[in-house]
Subunit: 306 residues, 2 copies
């Protein structure tokens, strides 16, 4: 099928066409470029929500509960599960999709696992493009679930309109939480598994650390959920709505979308450099040998490749 | 002080000179380049060991115990604590350094916190350069502690000769562990806090998952430690030694060092692209506005910057 046909299908809500379009974007082929030209301007209707946290905090369960909540009020929802995946095999597990199975037959829900590597420009370039496709396909909300802490969280924070950071009780002390760099990222903090011991302590620690930070107009709330039982999900949805209202009212909405586009453009330029490097692999190998043997320094080697 | 003086001081084991040299490398200034030229060829004596795992598994405690073990047999040890740090504030907490305090007055131990951003080429470029300084300064072992899971782990795996992956009992089920992509990264797995409930289950799950993977010559062992009590640290050190012997015997030692250099060179080239982009920030802003308003697609914007 042509890109134009796929776009028409996606806009009609055809799940298969949306999936195919995303695959072509992930390929980074000429089709990706054509699709992006056709979809230029599709930025901004869908609410993009990042769901972030360390392994084991219950991100997939929370995402699934949020999907149900959005559906209950008639919204169409897309979920992008960004697995860091195996860096060496490139494989991505289907665990999240299994968790999401209850939504599998719902035409108003679109679920996609994305590998975090192998694309030109990486996730930083691909995610905004996939969001544009989902925007064009008329989804009201796009939930982006990322695993782990660190770089991938930064990318999500840059991508999402609203970043929800999940923490489980007893996942480590305050120093650990701050080390993970999640405090500046979160627009909303959720202590999930709040029926477990230590939940109140974790809430208190988070509130304290938030009180130490600087907040321009929006002070991140700290909520408690037991996502597996659906407890607290309505409050979470309300907080997400409230954050969106603040975003639009403060002009931060446009600022965040601009940042997303800026990151995308830069990621494409960097992707171009990476693609140039990948073509010169043999040359890099022999330059590396020269550096290892002390015949050259790394800067000199890099200059030969510029 | 001149770079040459700092290098001479570093080679004489002067901690302050080592620290200053690293700061100049992190600055990415002309001094960095000069230092790298002078240190070209210093690749390979120090044993580079990555210590990786999610927040709360006890990385700092394990690192500290390993430092003691290396010291007990007369080795000089350097520790690089790679904080993902706050992506927006650029700040790095001193938590690790506090944990390492018992080694603070030991002249045979060098400890350094590194922020994961702000360097030309990022950690991927800076870490090998810092390792080269520590190599030149005669350290026998360099421990690199990274927080979190995801991209930073991949970078460590690419940097270290031996990657130690820490897991705590009950940190999540197998699916979570595999999602974090740690299985292909680990040369040695450590179930820390092994006196806790669920330790045997975690060991069993890891052994099972390792049995499913492909291993060329080295099958990652799974050890149990209680780092806070020092339990199992001798066995961990023995496994690290064993892995080093395997690396050298199999030729993987040179292969890994080549990969480290290759990553460094590529990171410098990508850093050059990033630095080019940072100069054109205003232009990127107006291109982003054009994309947001639908007047242009992101690929076209990226092309104007190539």
């Amino acid at each position: 099928m042509s890109v134009a046909e796929l776009i028409a299908g996606a806009q009609a809500g055809e799940q298969r066409d949306i999936a195919r379009l995303i695959s072509r974007i992930e390929d980074g082929s000429a089709d990706a470029r054509e699709a992006m030209q056709a979809l230029a301007g599709f930025v901004g209707r869908a609410q993009v929500i990042g769901i972030t946290g360390a392994p084991g905090v219950g991100k997939s369960t929370t995402t699934s509960a949020l999907v149900s909540a959005f559906r209950a009020r008639g919204n169409r929802v897309a979920v992008l599960a960004v697995d860091p995946s195996s860096p060496f095999s490139g494989g991505a597990l289907l665990g999240d999709r299994i968790r999401m199975q209850q939504h599998a037959t719902d035409e108003g829900v679109f679920i996609r696992s994305m590998a975090s590597r192998g694309h030109l420009g990486g996730l930083a370039a691909t995610t905004p493009q996939v969001i544009r496709v989902l925007d064009a396909a008329g989804f009201d909300a796009v939930l982006i679930e990322t695993v782990g802490v660190g770089q991938s969280e930064v990318e999500v924070a840059a991508t999402a309109d609203t970043s929800v950071v999940l923490i489980a009780p007893g996942m480590g002390d305050s120093i650990q939480a701050a080390k993970a760099g999640i405090l500046e990222i979160g627009d909303i903090f959720v202590v999930n598994k709040a029926d477990r011991e230590g939940a109140e302590t974790t809430v208190r620690e988070l509130l304290h650390m938030i009180s130490l930070g600087q907040h321009e107009g929006w002070r991140p709330p700290v909520l408690k959920t037991v996502a597996s039982l659906g407890d607290g999900i309505e409050s979470l949805l309300a907080a997400i709505d409230e954050h969106r209202i603040w975003l639009v009212g403060s002009g931060q909405d446009r600022a965040r979308k601009l940042r997303r586009i800026k990151d995308e453009i830069c990621a494409l330029v960097i992707g171009e450099t990476k693609s140039r490097l990948s073509i010169r692999a043999a040359e890099i190998d022999s330059l590396s040998e020269a550096v290892l043997d002390g015949a050259m320094d790394a800067y000199a080697a890099a200059e030969q490749l510029n």
